[in-house]
Amino acid sequence: MLRQGHHGIAAAERGTSKKGTRALAWSKASIAGVGASRQGKLPGETPISLATEALRAALEDSGIAKEEIDGLLTMPGTTSPEGPKHYLALGEHLGIDPAFTGSLSMGGATAGALVQQAAMAIATGMATVVACVFGDTARTGGNKFDSASGRGDSWGIWGMFGNAANSALGAKRHMDLYGTTSEQLGWVAVTARKHARLNPNATMQDPMTVEDHQSSRPIVDPLRLLDCCIISDGAVAIIVTTPERARDARKPAVSIWGMGQGHTLQNLGTPEWWYLPHQADCISRSYRMAGVGPRDIDVAQLYDNFTISVLFWLEHAGFVPRGEAGPFVEGGERITFGGELPINTAGGNLSESYMQGWLHIVEGVRQIRGEAGPRQVEGAEVCLVTGRGMILNTASCLVLGAGS
């Protein structure tokens, strides 16, 4: 099945000793608390009401008092009316007058990018406890995921609409060049669903087979309905603080070993735009800062707006060489518990809830803390978390590690 030269690692090789690695990691900020609101279809809620619910949960999780928050970073939901002034509305609602604040819109790269901003603020001393918050009612409040992308009027004229089409273009070229198949994409969806069924908070609990995937209706060929993420209402909050403060928090501290970003802001102007070359840069920057490589990663939360995205990440993160992610995910064994690289252990955007990558960070934290219950990856000490957004433009990455 796998061609020669893959970088796959036997599970037994993992978790041998991360002590040497840990000494090289950046580790100047830690995640002390994570929280999520209810997820799914939540009529009557607003992005801000859900964000408040998530922040209450994150504060409870951390044992840190609201009064200690001196940083507030926010991502407007797709249905938030405030746009770039979202931080103002949320700060007023939450009763926070911070030393450091702002809002950022990078789509699925925002969650990681805001945790990075928080970490930088903490490392420079500009803040000591930063709440990063996102809330959305994309499911019940309407969303704009189906509109035409691109500058001016250049794309819709030819019928190029919606988010699925961008990823479908990448999927089709990956298939044409490397022989990747729709069934292989199906294994990503099936594995996500299997993991979601071990997560009581996941919104999608019905079993799924590759046959279900293959018989789901085509959306933008080669992507089918079950290649696409779900659309959800919900909110997530993440509390970032100093390693010292995190050590005194209620739960075991999770350290930010490394972090990075990469962006292809030109669309048609970049020859390999379809392959998202910035994602490989984003991850290598993060690895360098953390002093780790792909072999050190015990578990990964890879942004999965569409199944094909997971294949790109596996290649960009160096788990497999370019073009070989299809065979790697086939059968699902390598990407689930006991496999070479368990991914998206809570179900991801495909089956947990579409919180635009925010829940990927939450699950990374839970895996490192060892509190993921039936879906815990045994001995997980290092987790890679990735996010991507806009028209295949933005990427952010966190390497989370045990200890403060």
Binding site: D146, A148, G150, R151, G152, D153, S154, W155, G156, I157, W158, G159, M160, F161, G162, A165, A168, L169, G170, K172, R173, D176, L177, R217, P218, I219, V220, D221, P222, Q266, L268, G269, P271, W273, W274
Partner: protein, 138 residues
């Protein structure tokens, strides 16, 4: 000429992009070439993305290229294309360097594999709207 949908998305013609659309009407695919850098750019823009110079000339292209990727819309996202579903959208690598979105005619034809050679054709969809689209090179 393909079937004309009841409602179409018209190009927003501006002083800057008018030569592009007038070129299509006249059967010529032309793009902006930066005078200092020589860089050929698309979409139409008021500055060169390599050197930021505003100085350019319109240059006629060969209309030759190959398919970077091709997808098939199997559901409707917009009324203007509702009647066309299923239709293809292609990303074309033009011989001279730029890339553009377009369609292969007929729009209902199956997505061509990456690397297929194509050439531009000019599809008059209304009296005053002509879209550059592509056909496989025989």
């Amino acid at each position: 000429m393909t079937d004309t949908p009841a409602e179409i998305i018209r190009p927003s013609v501006t002083d800057l992009n008018r030569p592009f659309w007038e070129g299509c009407n006249a059967g010529v695919l032309r793009m902006q070439a930066c005078l200092p850098a020589g860089h050929l750019r698309y979409p139409v823009s008021d500055a060169c993305p390599t050197c930021l110079s505003p100085d350019f000339e319109w240059r006629e292209l060969s209309g030759e290229g190959d398919i970077l990727s091709a997808v098939m819309f199997k559901r409707s996202y917009n009324k203007a294309y509702e009647a066309q579903v299923p239709y293809n959208v292609v990303l074309v690598q033009l011989a001279e360097g730029p890339r553009m979105f377009s369609n292969v005619v007929p729009l209902s034809s199956d997505p061509l594999p990456a690397g297929t050679r194509v050439h531009v054709i000019f599809d008059r969809i209304t009296d005053d709207v002509v879209l550059p689209r592509f056909a496989p090179v025989k």
